[in-house]
Amino acid sequence: MMPELGKYAFAVLSSYGASLALIVALVGWSILRGRQVKRQLAEVEARQKGTERSDG
Amino acid sequence: MIALLTRDLQLAFRAGGGFGLGLAFFLLAAVLVPLGVGPEGATLAKIAPGILWVGALLACLLSLDRIFALDFEDGSLDLLATSPIPLEGVVAVKALAHWLVTGLPLTLVAPVLGVLLNLPGPGYPWLVASLAAGTPALSVIGAFGAALTVGIKRGGLLLSLLVLPLYVPTLIFGAEVVRRGAMGVDVAVPILLLSGITAGALALLPFAAAAAIRVNLR
């Protein structure tokens, strides 16, 4: 299944490896930060909804 | 506006260090490079244009954050912003003051350092000409960078990061003028392009810098 890369195997494989690693890191970081912010926002929104009534 | 210019110049001379610092740095860079590279005249002659231009650029960078930071801290920038002079004019005057205390002395001292670096004879007039044509652009671009970072504490490093990529075209054309001049080749194209960049930067960047200052004073 693996194609014959010949003497350039290192260049080709490390290009794919490095690029995919960078992409995965970027996507993972974006998703993690998205979740984190979403959770914090939900917490604060819930908390403020609770206090608003006691204010008014 | 002239009053503002003389005030800025007086401050630069009086504050001690602000004036001489850039020059001293330029001198040091030009002395250190041969110590690192080795004393062969031919090698030095080859890299002299690049070193002189990079040194001038870094020396310029060194004093950029002073352009607006002090006035921002003591509140005189707010006064200047509300004064009858347009803020664009204030920026231009301050860039001019910066050029007079760094760019101009650098231009005048550069031939002496050229001797230290074994710059070939025909290069000298072009060294002075390219610095005279290019350093105003360095000051105006720097004023723009300083205007962006004026509200940030310890913005010096950020300022360098923002300004250095903007200096690339000036550096390339400036050093190219000296290199071609030193080799005795026609320099018309790079020096015209260099002057074009300076003229464009002088005409447009004060507006961008003034906009950035207005945002920072909000």
């Binding site: 010949g6 794919y16 974006s30 998205g34 | 990061l161 190219e176 945002v215």
Partner: protein
């Protein structure tokens, strides 16, 4: 129905919540398809051997690194002229994506250059321009990080983006003037004669589409995060004042 409706954060959140899974899914499908096609089912080039396979990452990443900056420029202009917050946040969200693509283009370029030109790095116009582009991205991101007030940060980075674009173009020409370079010309152009041959061209186009979709998906997702972060900050400030 006009495009400006999406300037309303609520409307943007609704629409992007619906669009994001589709764009993300499509981008994964096209990327996987294009890269597998390129990696396993294309022949070697008679001159460059198996290193042509790098083209499926190198060219799309380089294209999108430049296009991301153009998108940031447009978004900054929209923010400065029409004051739509979503636009400013989209520019902020796009910058790290563009920076990552710039890195991919540089890394794959170095790995490709080593066997072909015998050097990892050459001060070639295209390579140098990308290094400068990388610096522009770093400066832009650093300025966003350094300014506390979000509107001030958006204004300042917007101005920087516009001035930076002008200087980026100037640098491109300056660098061209300075060194003629090793890099080959464009791999894709409308002129059929100059194109790479069809066997390489089709999977390359699939990969480019995949990169475009990936960019869109990431920007959508990151913009949603930025909008939420902005609202979170506003709520926290209100809490502190109350």
């Amino acid at each position: 129905m006009s495009i400006w409706e999406y300037a309303n954060p609520k409307k943007f959140m609704q629409t992007s919540a619906w669009a994001l899974p589709w764009v993300a899914g499509l981008s994964v499908v096209t990327l996987v398809m294009g890269l597998i096609w390129g990696f396993f089912f294309t022949p070697d080039d008679y001159k460059q051997g198996s290193t042509v396979k790098i083209i499926y990452l190198h060219v799309p990443a380089a294209m999108m690194a430049i296009n991301a900056w153009v998108m940031m420029l447009l978004a900054s202009l929209i923010w400065l002229i029409r004051r739509h917050h979503v636009s400013a946040l989209a520019a902020k969200a796009a910058a790290p994506v563009g920076l990552t693509f710039t890195f991919i283009a540089l890394v794959t370029g170095a790995l490709w250059g080593q066997p072909m030109w015998g050097t990892w790095w050459a001060w070639d116009p295209r390579l140098t321009s990308f290094l400068i582009l990388c610096l522009f991205y770093l400066g832009y991101i650093a300025l966003w990080q350094a300014v506390d007030d979000p509107d001030t940060a958006a204004d300042l980075t917007g101005v920087l983006c516009i001035v930076g674009s002008v200087f980026a173009v100037l640098s491109r020409y300056a660098v061209n003037f300075w060194n003629q370079g090793l890099h080959q010309g464009a791999s894709l152009s409308l002129d059929k004669e100059e194109n790479v041959s069809d066997v390489f061209w089709l999977p390359l186009v699939v990969c480019i589409v995949g990169f475009i979709l990936m960019f869109l998906a990431l920007v959508l997702m990151r913009t949603r995060t930025e909008i939420r972060a902005r609202r979170l900050q506003a709520l926290l400030t209100r809490e502190r004042i109350a």
